[in-house]
């Protein structure tokens, strides 16, 4: 199977390791990975700030870049995939060529855990990660895309991994993209509540599937002086004997 990588701007800027591991992991699962080099950002930051006309221009670029190949599209971010699934088609009036293209591409764009579990039908990727982790389900993965069990299925197959439940796991961490800088004090309160819940589990790492949540939670843990790591699920799945 061929798959185009949609690397997302946040992962590209802050977490290139996750992207590299994702490529290696997909290739190990016999996926032929393509990387459309003209891709940039999907436009979600502008869309969520209300700048729909600007976001429309960015969506147009994205659709053009990824529309050149027939291959499915895979991304390590629930939030960016949610943008493609739910907002790209809304940005163009029904009946237009762009709307059709947006719907076509939305139908073959998959968040990473969705792709593994529901497309490749793989839950055991042969990973080993000795340690205690807890899992934070990102809002857009959970409620946006309705992917409630995929990450858990993948984690449950990792050898030597102990998963501890996170209290109030479904509560937002306070990132919210533009929200985090428009109302930093509210974002802080939400982030601190999340960090306290993570610390209460006694886990060595918290796992999530979105760069935005990882930046927020990871930064919050560091600010709290904690040694607990914020890891992408791919960090765990690509691991063959521990991250440390």
């Amino acid at each position: 199977m061929k798959a185009q990588l949609f690397i997302t701007c946040l992962a590209e800027q802050f977490y290139p390791n996750i992207l590299q591991q994702m490529v290696l992991l997909l290739e190990r699962l016999d996926v032929q990975v393509e990387f459309p080099a003209e891709q940039t950002c999907c436009g979600q930051p502008l869309y969520n700030s209300g700048f729909q006309s600007q976001a429309r221009a960015m969506a147009r670029n994205w659709l053009e870049v990824f529309g050149r190949s027939e291959a499915v599209i895979v991304s390590p971010s629930g939030s960016c995939v949610d943008m493609v699934h739910h907002h790209f088609p809304e940005l163009f009036p029904e009946g237009t060529r762009e709307h059709e293209l947006a719907r076509d591409l939305a139908g073959r764009t998959f968040e990473f855990t969705d792709f593994l579990v529901n497309q490749l039908r793989v839950t055991d990727v042969g990973a080993r990660f000795p340690g205690r982790v807890t899992y934070h389900p990102s809002c857009h993965l959970l409620r946006g895309l309705g992917l409630r069990r995929e990450a858990g299925l993948l984690l449950s197959e990792v050898r030597d991994l102990e998963i501890v439940p996170l209290p109030e796991e479904e509560t937002c961490c306070g990132f919210g993209g533009v929200f985090s800088v428009v109302y930093p004090e509210v974002s802080r309160a939400m982030m601190e509540a999340k960090v306290n819940n993570i610390l209460a589990t006694g886990a060595e790492a918290v796992v999530a599937c979105d760069a935005g949540c990882l930046m927020n939670i990871g930064g919050g843990l560091r600010k709290a002086g904690s040694q607990v790591k914020a890891l992408h699920l791919i960090d765990i799945l690509a691991s063959n004997g521990g991250y440390r």
Binding site: A55, H140, G177, Y183, S187
Partner: protein, 489 residues
């Protein structure tokens, strides 16, 4: 608006951001307790209802159908209320609605009124209008009684004084009522009950809102837990109900669907302690109810909202308050941050539509778009979608309103779009940022950045810019290419 609690009149500008920087410390604690209890009960009720999702879908369809045919159902309401012996008034806005109620009170020589908890009368600032006309309105719901003493508005749709602890309430009673009030909730309720008994007996007028209006028969439906609703609408000879035009349901069958969802979503009760049905005034001596019944139907911008196919779903709301209970933003800032009588996620979409985006432009941004509200909404209001719709209205404007954001902001968004979407520029930025930021980098993090990005770093450090994926990919492609060419002579 700079005071810590909202004023009674519609605010000229709502400063959510300013308020959010100095939220009183006890508010998140009080809210966590109350909302946690409601949500726990709600979960238990839903577990007993395997058909919950079907009910939500049916409620959504009933509410949307009613809104799309509102003219017909309102005419039916008027016809049936008149047939039952009531009088119907139409109020285009808050001022007109208040004036109608004041007029009715004057015609009857009423000097005091007892009130059932009502969001519509909070919306129009009725108590102040009555007071200005020399008529004293007494709130009789315990929570409303407390906030009326405090001189503030409600901080939650169904529990108006949810932000106050019992110690604060006791102190308020001592200060305003001049009596020795202990901090025991039961004793405080007993004090309120003693005072309210006298008011029920003395009042010449009862004022209520309604949870629903059943078009089929013109019945007003009031859902309450304290029995005060029954007192206010039966003891005085005059009953005036102020009801938003969005409260109509077609018939009793639709009402049962909505009643099944309302209390379960709100407090986690199967049904509230009292569900009162009032159809016009009493017709015989033996019957309960007021001798005269007036219904004031309030538009106040609602028919304008109906024109907007995305935002009109706001009007499906049945005011259960569940979106507040699950909202992490609301739970940290409390109701007063939203600057008007209605708060939380529903307030963040309702107020900007009624007050306009100039006054309420901060509210659509007061959400992390986590979607918890839409997940629990018993009538499936797509709140995040409407928030995004209103954000667009604020910054770019739409067919309903001009933008409220300044032109330079739009110019900078254009620049942002160019930087983020021009491939060579974006790639250049990705290569340069790790070097440009290197002097600020500490141990893989950027602990402090200059404005405006300090709005991020004053809360937590930013991971260092790394980039490098494209270079890694290109190198690998070259290596693989070499291997391929060696392998195929």
């Amino acid at each position: 608006m700079t005071e810590s609690t909202h004023s009674h009149q519609a605010p000229a500008y709502i400063e959510f951001g300013e308020y959010s920087t100095h939220v009183p410390k006890n508010i998140p604690i009080a809210l966590e307790q109350a909302t946690g209890r409601f949500l726990g009960n709600r979960e238990a009720r839903i577990a007993e209802m395997p058909q919950w999702e079907e009910l939500r879908q049916a409620a959504h369809e009933i509410r949307l159908h009613t809104l799309l045919n509102l003219d017909l159902y309102l005419e039916l309401v008027e016809k049936q209320v008149v047939a039952a012996g009531g009088v119907v008034h139409w109020a285009v806005d808050a001022a007109e609605a208040s004036a109608i109620v004041v007029d009715i009170a004057r015609q009857h020589g009423a000097r005091t009124a007892v009130k059932v908890k009502s969001m519509a009368t909070e919306e129009i600032g009725l108590n102040q209008a009555l007071e200005a006309a020399g008529i004293q309105a007494y709130e009789t719901d315990l929570g409303e009684f407390i906030i009326q003493l405090a001189g503030t508005g409600p901080s939650h749709i169904i529990v108006p004084a949810v932000h106050m602890r019992k110690e604060e309430i006791a102190a308020l009673f001592r200060e305003k009522l001049g009596i020795d009030a202990p901090t025991d909730p039961l004793e405080l309720a007993a004090i309120a009950r003693r005072i309210l008994r006298e008011r029920f007996l003395e009042a010449e007028m009862g004022i209520s809102g309604a949870n629903f209006l059943v078009a089929e028969t013109g019945a007003l439906v009031i859902v309450s837990n304290e029995g005060n609703g029954r007192m206010c609408t039966t003891l005085p000879d005059l009953h005036v109900a102020v009801v938003g035009i969005d409260k109509v349901v077609p018939d009793w069958e639709s009402l049962t669907v909505l009643l099944k969802l309302l209390a379960r979503s709100a407090t986690g009760q199967k049904l509230s302690a009292y569900t009162s049905f009032i159809t016009g005034p009493r017709r015989t001596v033996g019957e309960g109810g007021a001798k005269q019944f007036h219904l004031v139907l309030l538009d106040n911008g609602r028919s304008r909202i109906l024109q907007d196919p995305v935002a009109r779903e706001t009007l499906k709301c049945i005011r259960c308050g569940c979106c507040l209970n699950v909202c992490p933003v609301y739970k940290h800032v409390g109701g007063y941050a939203y600057g008007w009588f209605i708060s939380g996620p529903i307030g963040a979409i309702f107020s900007p539509q009624i007050l306009g985006v100039e006054a309420a432009r901060e509210l659509p941004f007061a959400s992390s778009l986590c979607g918890a509200c839409a997940d629990v909404c018993p009538v499936k209001i797509p709140i995040p979608k409407i928030l995004l719709h209103l954000r667009h209205r604020v910054v770019e404007g739409d067919e309903f309103e001009k933008p409220a954001a300044p032109a330079p902001l739009r110019a900078s968004a254009s620049l942002g779009r160019v930087a983020l979407s021009t491939p060579w520029l974006y790639r250049l930025g990705t290569r340069l940022l790790p070097f440009l930021m290197a002097p600020l980098r500490r141990d893989g993090w950027l602990p402090a950045l200059p404005p405006p990005v300090n709005r991020w770093t004053r809360v937590r450090p930013l991971p260092a810019f790394r980039g490098g994926f494209r270079e890694w990919w290109a190198q690998r492609q070259r290596r693989n290419g070499d291997r391929d060419s060696r392998g195929s002579p």
